[in-house]
């Protein structure tokens, strides 16, 4: 039945849409997490900012 085909097609499109949305959200979250990890690891590298303040004898 065409209607069945149409219903199936509509269902498929819905699933595709939902899958895409889920994938986008998950992917976005993953990308965001990866970015955070990268930023975090970059800030933890052995090369801190050059303009870190001088350590003086009278600092706490």
């Amino acid at each position: 039945m065409l209607s069945d085909d149409r219903r199936t097609g509509a269902s498929d499109r819905g699933q595709i849409l939902i899958s895409t949305l889920v994938a986008a959200v998950v992917g976005g979250l993953l990308a965001l997490g990866a970015s955070l990890v990268l930023v975090s690891s970059a800030s933890n590298t052995n090369a801190p900012p050059v303009n870190k303040p001088l350590i003086t004898y009278d600092q706490k």
């Binding site: 052995n46 090369a47 050059v50 870190k52 001088l54 350590i55 003086t56 004898y57 009278d58």
Partner: protein, 589 residues
């Protein structure tokens, strides 16, 4: 003997009779020094409790790193420790003795043992100088002071050992003045010398004040012996090419300052006033400072008289130390002090004036003990005696628990020891400690400010910045090669060329410090011998400039001379040469 506090304290008549027999034991056996052996353990117990209250958070947890207090595992005995490498012998011979102890004990145990011993010795020594149970109050008043807190935080542990030895020096000097043997005094002066130049200066000056100028032979003998046992640092200082230059800016920078709302005089009188605002314990800037002032004034008003009667020399030394401590901050006197620091050999020892307060702290502590005794004798005032006895702690709770949590212990990460091994395996050559700067923050040790440990860790001659950067000024160091590197960096010279011309073959970079990234960029492309999260070691290929050689004769002469003099005093069996003459003997009576 009456129960009069002054008489009880001095026991003058009996001491005179006892000394007539020429035995120290007799001299001290029944006078106010007489029961010293019994009061010593009491004071030691008070000192131990005080020390445990202060050091409990760090005991058994690794080494304490705080400002100038740097201990490293398995410390190598380098030319710097012996005073043979031409550096200023600030830590000679104290570090050598600590390092030798660290050959048989874990370094953390050595450090914490020394710190705890300072509290115990201080308490026991002060207690021996006050009669009866109030000796415990004297012990607490001497062991629990802002001076101890500030010097502990800033890491001047040799000063604390000297501070702990001082009451023993005074006790021995009092006994010698009363006709006892000079030997205990000389041995305690040797102990003070082992605690370094500042400790020796304070102890010797105080001892000379106590024994007095007459007879001149005794005065000269004590002074001569003190000079001899201090040869380990005197010889390197005298033999140093160019002497020990002092930056005049250091006088103002390291002058005592007010650390309470009471101003400079109140801060010093309450035994604080360190120049460094970062090492002031909690509570000093509050109303508690007034409590401390009340405690000191009560002690002096009620208890100074017997101290003055027993030893006017000690009180004079205390007053003198107060004046010297203030000198750098008093207009007029500061100019005199600057002239002494810059032009008189050894004058630099007076630069950080507050460290000289130890005799004043002892006078206050003894007065506190006598004051507590005086109050305790009358039932109506007995409760006040208890209050006065514990007032040092009430006025300075910030000393407890690691100086308010500001002392922390840590273990060196493995890569620090791996770097040392890498340097040890590398062909001969001097190492530069980078980035160029004197102090570090170690994230594995609480991120506190601490002197760069690398020069102490490496078993190589290490070139390091020795300038002292403060918030408002940088006080120049004494090493001319370090000064040339500083000037070259300021002029924009290439770091590898600059270091090579200074005679450096390797560069050890402490990562994560201000200037580390720029330093690493400047050394990029050079052969890497070691690399870890915290540390980097590279070789600077090519010819290097000349480096000053070690001069072992300096250690031989200094340490050898001191050991010979000390040995002569220890093995001398003829008491006449080491016994002070009593007034009766001097007059022929």
């Amino acid at each position: 003997m009456s129960r009069d506090p002054l008489g009880a304290a001095t026991g003058r008549g009996r001491v005179g009779a006892a000394t007539g027999r020429g035995r120290v034991g007799a001299a001290t056996g029944r006078g106010w020094l007489g029961a010293a052996a019994g009061r010593g353990p009491l004071g030691a117990a008070v000192g131990l409790v005080a020390g445990l209250l202060v050091l409990a958070p760090v005991l058994g947890r690794g080494v304490v790193l705080s400002y100038d207090m740097v201990f490293v595992p398995d410390p190598p005995i380098t030319g710097s420790v012996l005073g043979t490498d031409g550096s200023v012998p600030r830590a000679v011979p104290t570090e050598l003795l600590a390092d030798l102890l660290a050959r048989v004990l874990p370094v953390a145990a050595v450090q914490q043992g020394l710190l705890l011993a300072a509290f115990v010795l201080a308490g026991a020594g002060a207690a021996r100088l006050v009669p009866g149970l109030p000796a415990a109050a004297a012990a607490l008043a001497y062991a629990w002071t802002p001076y101890v807190a500030e010097r502990l935080l800033i890491g001047h542990w040799p000063f604390l050992l000297g501070y702990a030895v001082l009451p023993w020096v005074v006790g021995a000097a009092l006994a010698a003045r009363r006709g006892g043997s000079l030997r205990p005094l000389l041995l305690w002066l040797a102990a003070a010398a082992a605690a370094g130049s500042t400790s020796a200066l304070i102890a010797t000056a105080t001892a000379l004040c106590v024994i007095g100028l007459r007879p001149a032979s005794r005065f000269a003998g004590v002074l001569g012996f003190a000079a001899a046992v201090n040869l380990p640092w005197i010889v390197p200082a005298l033999a140093r090419p160019g002497g020990v230059p002092a930056d005049p800016a250091g006088v103002a920078a390291f002058a005592a300052r007010s650390d309470t709302p009471l101003g400079l005089a109140g801060s010093l009188l309450t035994l604080g006033g360190v120049w460094n605002p970062a090492t002031v314990p909690y509570g000093r800037d509050s109303a508690l400072a007034t409590v401390a002032l009340v405690a000191v004034l009560a002690a002096l008003v009620l208890g100074l008289r017997p101290v003055l009667a027993d030893s006017p020399g000690l009180v004079a030394a205390g007053a003198g130390s107060l004046l010297l401590a203030a000198a750098g901050a008093v207009p007029g006197l500061d100019a005199v002090l600057r002239a002494v620091v810059v032009h008189v050999p050894g004058g630099g020892l007076l630069r950080d004036g507050q460290k000289l307060l130890a005799p004043a702290a002892l006078v206050v502590a003894l007065a506190a003990g006598h004051a507590v005794g005086r109050l305790a004798r009358a039932p109506r005032t007995a409760p006040w005696a208890v209050l006065l006895a514990v007032l040092p702690v009430l006025a300075l709770p910030g000393l407890a628990w690691g100086v308010g949590g500001r002392l922390a212990a840590a273990h060196y990460p493995a890569d620090w020891l791996e770097l040392r091994a890498a340097v040890a395996q590398a062909p001969p050559g001097e190492v530069a400690a980078l980035p160029w700067g004197t102090y570090r923050r170690l994230d594995w040790a609480g991120d506190r400010v601490v002197l760069d440990p690398l020069p102490r860790l490496l078993d190589r001659r290490t070139l390091a910045d020795d300038a002292l950067p403060l918030s408002r000024v940088t006080v120049r160091g004494e090493d001319p090669r370090a000064a040339r590197v500083s000037a070259g960096l300021a002029a924009g010279e290439r770091l590898p060329d600059l270091l090579r011309s200074a005679g450096v073959r390797y560069a050890a970079v402490h990562r994560g410090q201000p200037g580390s990234a720029a330093t690493e960029r400047a050394l990029a492309g050079l052969p890497v011998l070691f690399s870890s999260r915290d540390l980097l070691l590279v070789e600077l290929p090519g010819p290097t400039g000349p480096t000053p050689g070690d001069r072992p004769w300096v250690a031989v002469l200094g340490l050898g001379g001191a050991v010979l003099c000390l040995g002569a005093v220890i093995v001398r069996r003829r008491p006449g040469l080491l016994r002070s003459r009593t007034p009766d003997e001097r007059t022929g009576a």
